[in-house]
């Protein structure tokens, strides 16, 4: 507890209120990006997420209503995105992550407005070059100067803060709901090279028997021979093989995931949330969110697919501390 209390006075080196969201992967399909174009019919600038309804004319000439969602108002406020930024009647083109199950939902990555503005929930509002030159200004709304978080802390070995580490997965159950299953026990280490993130490495070892569905009979099934077969394969491991930056503070982490003796590559979308220093022990800390998905059938875990969805969506929330 002393440590917990001391952290209250922690001076942050950096905070990046990125779009990291634990619930994201349940609604949207990371990696399945799309683009829609249409006219805004309704603006719902409210928490939990600002939303826009967009009337889109599909390939068959029919009108469809799309539900576009972005971040909460506090985060949008930080980049200068207000309730007036996008209005009913605006004709926009939106790139984003598509909803699961063809639900005509999208999580907004970038909006291009007919007037030339380009708007991002992370980067704020960039006006067209014509608009900027008209004002003789290169000003960009919101906080545009994002530094690389990882380059501002000491390279080297980091160990898991196991009091702030969560690893879960979900899947579609009969198309009705997406159960949220946890692994309670796992180890992880990070070899950080913030100046060349492609040289950083992460390793995770999960105690397969720690799988926790909150339903005892389902835990038995998950531990049993049809699924993780923990008696014969007590560990699930992930060893990174490559990291490709997609922005200063996000990237795609590819690694070898071994389940039940089968190893396959998987890719996680990683967001580096922030780094800071624990003032008590002077250890540097860095926190990540990551999501990804893979098909369990790739590992021979085929039982009851497709009634129980083949695709598993992973969600990782993890903090590391510098090893002295």
């Amino acid at each position: 507890m002393h440590r917990y209390l001391a952290l209250l006075f922690l001076p942050f080196v950096h905070i990046n209120f990125a779009a990291a969201h634990h619930a994201f992967a349940a609604d949207y399909e990371p990696g399945n990006n799309g683009e829609v174009e249409g006219v805004i019919t309704e603006v719902i600038y409210k928490n939990p997420h600002a939303r826009y309804y967009l009337e889109v004319t599909n390939d068959d000439g029919e009108k469809e209503l799309w539900d576009l969602q972005t971040m909460n108002l506090m985060m949008l406020g930080r980049v200068g995105w207000t309730k007036d930024t996008l209005q009913v009647g605006d004709h926009i083109k939106v790139e984003g992550v598509l909803g699961r199950n063809n639900t005509k939902r999208m999580s907004i990555s970038v909006v291009t407005v007919d007037d030339g503005r380009v708007i991002s929930p992370q980067r704020g509002i960039r006006e067209s070059s014509a608009q900027l030159s008209a004002r003789g200004s290169a000003e960009v709304a919101g906080s545009s100067a994002f530094d690389s978080i990882a380059s501002n802390i000491t390279p080297g070995r980091y160990e898991l803060d196991d009091t702030h580490a969560y690893l879960s997965f979900s899947y579609s159950h009969l198309g009705l709901s997406n159960p949220q299953i946890h692994f309670a026990d796992f180890e992880a280490s990070l070899e950080l090279n913030g100046n060349d993130m492609s040289q950083s490495q992460v390793s995770i070892t999960i105690d397969a028997a720690s799988v926790d569905s909150s339903v005892p009979e389902l835990d038995d099934a998950l531990q049993g021979a049809d699924y993780f077969d923990v008696a014969n394969y007590p560990e699930i491991t992930f060893r990174s093989t490559a990291y490709e930056e997609t922005s200063e503070n996000s990237g795609r982490l590819t690694g070898d995931l071994s389940v039940r003796g089968i190893t396959q590559p998987v890719t996680l979308d990683v967001t580096i949330n922030s780094a800071s220093m624990n003032p008590l022990n002077r250890r540097e800390m860095i926190g990540f969110s990551a999501t990804g998905s893979f098909n369990r059938s790739d590992y021979g875990l085929t039982a009851y697919a497709p009634l129980i969805g083949d695709e598993l969506t992973l969600a990782v929330q993890i903090e590391f501390e510098k090893v002295r």
Binding site: Y53, L73, L174, G175, L176, P216, L307
Partner: protein, 237 residues
């Protein structure tokens, strides 16, 4: 229990071909299942919540003891209501000391306030599968409005249990300081995002009916001023 689960799954597997979603129901409702009372399927319902911790990560906590009922009106979805009670003692963090701390007087004070409840104010459907559920959350005896974004994932005759089932995903945000849970704000974020994955089965049972009573009691005991819902409910600015 294990074997029953598997036998029912196996039965479902063989029935898969015969069970289409959205088959017309006797009362002709849009969802293909009848109107009426549905109880939480406790084996397929998850409530998780998350917050920004020190700017570093979003711990993913969960409550495992959830019960309640849905009064479904398939002909007029906006007339549907849902009532939920969550056992505070069932909140799990993966850390025993943190579980105990959350149950203590410092946070939820489980001895005095054993339940977190939700009661419906109104549901605004956008279409058959999307909508906004406005209701009241009661924590530590304090009641506040909340708006949940709802997705109706599916509704059908359950292929294993041979009764109608409906499944939802929903999410929303509340401020824990509104309920007196303000320790460590703002280093541990005030905003808490709630995620619900739920299935409801046709019928009612002792546990689900008790949860409905607990939810109703929370509303009956609430300060009337806290039951006002404005158009701006959920807005923060």
């Amino acid at each position: 229990m294990k074997f029953r689960y598997f036998w029912s799954l196996a039965a479902a597997f063989t029935l898969l071909a015969g069970c289409g979603q959205g088959e017309p129901a006797a009362d002709g409702g849009l969802l293909g299942i009848p109107s009426g009372t549905y109880a939480v399927d406790k084996s397929h319902t998850y409530v998780t919540f998350s917050y920004f911790h020190q700017g570093l990560s979003y711990p993913l906590l969960r409550a495992t003891g959830i019960d309640g009922e849905l009064e479904l009106d398939t002909g007029a979805l906006e007339k549907s209501t849902v009532s939920i009670a969550v056992d505070v003692d069932s909140i799990r963090t993966n850390l025993d000391y943190f579980d105990k701390e959350l149950a203590s007087r410092k946070f939820f004070h489980a001895d005095k306030f054993p339940h977190i409840t939700f009661a419906t104010h109104s549901y605004t459907p956008r279409n058959e599968s999307l909508g906004e559920l406005t209701g009241f959350v009661t924590i530590r005896g304090i009641t506040r409005p909340i708006v949940l974004s709802v997705v109706i994932n599916g509704a059908m005759e359950h292929p294993m249990l041979n009764k109608p089932v409906i499944g939802f995903s929903a999410s929303g945000t509340l401020r824990r300081s509104d309920f007196g849970l303000d320790r460590f704000v703002p280093m541990v974020a005030d905003e808490v995002e709630i995620r619900i994955e739920a299935e409801f089965l046709r019928g009612s049972n002792e546990g689900s009916a008790a949860a409905v009573r607990i939810s109703a009691d929370a509303i009956a005991n609430a300060d009337p001023a806290s039951l006002q819902v404005s158009a701006e409910t959920g807005a923060e600015q």
